[in-house]
Symmetry: C2
Subunit: 295 residues, 2 copies
């Protein structure tokens, strides 16, 4: 079997080809908006969420073309959230994936509008008949995505994260914040495959539980990488969380315990895949990758 890194890169190529087809090309006086959208989407990235969408869809025999559309929609939502989070009034980041962030490369207004347009486009993609022949399934995808991304999910997480700067937060509060900010969209990525494949409820729940633990393991690893601070490899400024007094589990538990926690969560994530037996081997590799990656 190919090493997981190769599989991830290969899938990223397919996802990017799909995004290329779904994104508009620049024309007319609004060209700047379209350019900013394309700049943000094609700035690289591991495409982990799209990978999870397609890998979970494969568990249920969903066509790759359909899975890739949903994967593209999820990646658009993820990218829009990065653009808005990077803004000066939020995390004020000037570097992302080794390139100037959108508000630096363009300007703040364009960055906000590009994010707005990408979020909107994600729902347009899901609603189209090409995504699934049954409108019922398309509506279910839209419901799940809006719940994961909105006021009870990702946006709430970012709101709490902003307020958590310079505050002490209990580990339970930090965990909840990260579950909302990162976990909700990761969980949606896994559930999307199950929705597309009309999976029975217990299997959908198993994937949700897997993704929940995976999300927390992912976030702790992110914070560990930030604390260690290899900015060149990560393509962003590091050590910022500590300098800002941001609430992270690494700060609350210390590096060693945080690392153990991440490993334990990855093991726990894999345990939830038991009902899928060998079929979920790739999902297990994802969990392993998430805690052992170096960028």
């Amino acid at each position: 079997m190919a090493p997981f890194g190769d599989l991830l890169s290969e899938r990223a190529v397919a996802v990017e080809a799909t995004l290329k087809r779904l994104l508009p090309s620049a024309e007319g006086p609004e060209a700047r908006l379209i350019e900013a959208m394309n700049y943000a989407v094609f700035a690289g990235g591991k495409r982990l969420r799209p990978f999870l969408v397609t890998a979970s869809a494969e568990l249920f025999g969903v066509s790759m073309a359909a899975a890739l559309r949903v994967a593209a929609a999820v990646e658009l939502v993820h990218t829009y959230s990065l653009i808005h989070d990077d803004l000066p009034c939020m995390d004020n980041d000037d570097l992302r994936r080794g390139k100037p962030t959108v508000h630096i490369a363009f300007d703040e207004a364009t960055a906000i509008l590009a994010g707005d347009a990408m979020l909107t486009l994600a729902f347009e993609i899901l609603a189209a008949p090409e995504t699934h022949s049954l409108a019922e399934v398309r509506c279910e995808l839209i419901t799940a995505l809006s719940q994961a991304a909105g006021w009870r999910g990702m946006v709430a997480g970012q709101m709490i994260d902003l307020q958590a700067e310079y505050q002490t937060m209990e580990p339970a509060g930090i965990t909840r914040m990260q579950r909302l900010k990162t976990g909700a969209l990761l969980a949606l990525s896994c559930e999307a495959g199950a929705i597309l494949g009309r999976a029975p409820e217990p299997l959908r729940h198993a994937l949700h539980a897997y993704a929940h633990d995976l999300g927390l393991a992912f976030q702790i690893t992110d914070d560990l990488l930030d604390a260690r601070g290899d900015g060149v490899r990560l393509g962003k400024r590091t050590g910022k969380d500590g300098a800002r007094g941001k609430a992270t589990l690494v700060a609350a538990l210390g590096e060693e315990r945080a690392r153990l926690q991440a490993d334990m969560l990855a093991q726990q994530a894999m345990a939830h895949l038991e009902p899928f037996a060998e079929k979920a081997e790739i999902m297990r590799q994802v969990a392993d990758f998430v805690v052992h990656r170096d960028h």
Copy 2:
């Protein structure tokens, strides 16, 4: 028959009751986000778009409960766009409907996130079975809303509008910008009723054409009101467009010709309602109201 103003206020009460049910209430550390959403939504406003949704739905015998849900979704999208447009990096407005704008009453980050959450919630509302028993119809509503609000609609219009400051723009370019910025969501409001009511294509087109002209008449009237500058009645700073050198038809044509143009567009809008005969009397009153309002 009751004067149109009374009808509009009465419908606004029903729309606001629906919005109250659909918006979350503030709890937990993300309470600030929810408060900002509620602050923005319940800051008053004519609720013209919701009125158009319900009035067009009535043409096809749609239940008021379903129409009100779609009306609420459209108002959420309209309000999110106002929040983002008011930001310092965009139009930098500190007053809206007589109250401090969201980024003044809260802060910029909260304003951006509240807007993001409202846009997302709009799609969640449309995707829910309570909106229409047929998922096919819900998907059609989502497609139409995302197209009206996204990169080929409202967001593009705002992008062009921002670039139009301090630039001279031909009347045709201004008209296109306003069609995107204001017209697309107004047109969607009228089409939404037709989609809900599964109206035949020619009637849907008639409503679209009506809304197109209505939108332009609406925008010219807005610009005339801004130029005349009764800020107390309008609840916002006036005369800003001129001071900024913003491209408006009032600046391009002069007040008198702009007023004539608005009247002509309102007449033209009404003419498109011909296939509906008496049934569209209220839609005619809307067109009359739009050009003769004083706020």
